[in-house]
C-alpha cells in the first residue's frame, strides 16, 4: 500500500513504521462504488473504516428524509463511535465517488489487539479520541 495513504490517516499518527505495519495487517482494503453503503444508522456495528481515497457522506435519518451531517475524505475515520462505546452506528455512511477505498478493521479484532499491545493501543485510542474531538470542533464551527 502507498505509504502516503497511511501517513495521511490520523489513526496511524505516532506509530513507528513497524507498528503501523502491524496495525495495517489487521485490516483489509475495501473498494466501494458510488452509493455503496458502509454503515446504516441504528444497526449493529462490527467494523471501523479508515478512508484512503474518495469521499463518504455521513447522514442522519429523520422523519422527513435524510440530513447530511458531514462529508469525510481521505485520512478520516468512519465508525469510531461504535468502536468506542459498543453501540450501533449513530449515522449512515455511503460512498459518493467511485472508487472510494478504505481500510476496514473488525471492531473486536482491533480492540483485542489494543489490549495485547498496550503501547500501540494507547496511540490508536488517542488518535481515535482526537479524531472525535476534531469532528466535534468542526460541528461546532459549522453551526455558527
Amino acid at each position: 500500500m502507498d505509504a502516503s495513504l497511511v501517513r495521511q490517516c490520523i489513526l496511524f499518527h505516532g506509530l513507528s513504521e513497524q507498528e503501523a505495519k502491524e496495525v495495517l495487517a489487521l485490516g483489509s482494503e475495501v473498494t466501494y462504488h458510488q452509493n455503496d453503503t458502509l454503515a446504516v444508522q441504528d444497526t449493529p456495528a462490527d467494523k471501523v473504516f479508515a478512508i484512503l481515497e474518495g469521499m463518504v457522506e455521513i447522514t442522519l435519518s429523520a422523519r422527513d428524509g435524510k440530513r447530511t451531517l458531514l462529508y469525510l475524505g481521505p485520512g478520516q475515520i468512519v465508525g469510531e463511535l461504535p468502536l468506542v462505546d459498543g453501540g450501533p452506528h449513530s449515522a449512515n455512511a455511503r460512498a459518493i465517488y467511485t472508487p472510494t477505498r478504505a481500510l476496514a478493521f473488525e471492531r473486536q479484532t482491533l480492540l483485542n489487539f489494543c489490549k495485547s499491545h498496550p503501547h500501540i493501543g494507547y496511540h490508536l485510542m488517542r488518535n481515535i479520541a482526537a479524531d472525535l474531538a476534531f469532528k466535534i470542533r468542526h460541528h461546532n464551527l459549522s453551526a455558527i
Binding site: 490520523i10 475524505g73 468542526h138
Partner: protein
C-alpha cells in the same frame, strides 16, 4: 512531511461541511474544488496546536462563482 487535517465549512449552503487530510495547507484567496464545485478560501485558522507534523485547520469557504442578481 507535514500533513493538514482540514475542516471545510461553507456557511452559504446547508450541510455539515467536509473533513479531509491533505499534504498542503489551503491559502486565503485560493480556489479549491470540493464535490465537483469550485470554492474560494476566505479564512484559514489553526484549530488546535499541531501534533508533530500534523496540523489541524478550520477553513471557511464560499462558492467561487457567486450568483448574479
Amino acid at each position: 512531511m507535514p500533513m493538514y487535517k482540514v475542516s471545510y465549512v461553507d456557511h452559504t449552503r446547508p450541510g455539515g461541511g467536509t473533513i479531509i487530510s491533505q499534504p498542503q495547507a489551503p491559502a486565503v484567496g485560493e480556489v479549491i474544488v470540493l464535490h465537483g464545485k469550485r470554492y474560494r478560501v476566505i479564512e484559514v485558522i489553526e484549530l488546535i496546536p499541531p501534533r508533530g507534523m500534523v496540523h489541524f485547520l478550520h477553513v471557511t469557504i464560499e462558492p467561487a462563482e457567486k450568483a448574479v442578481s
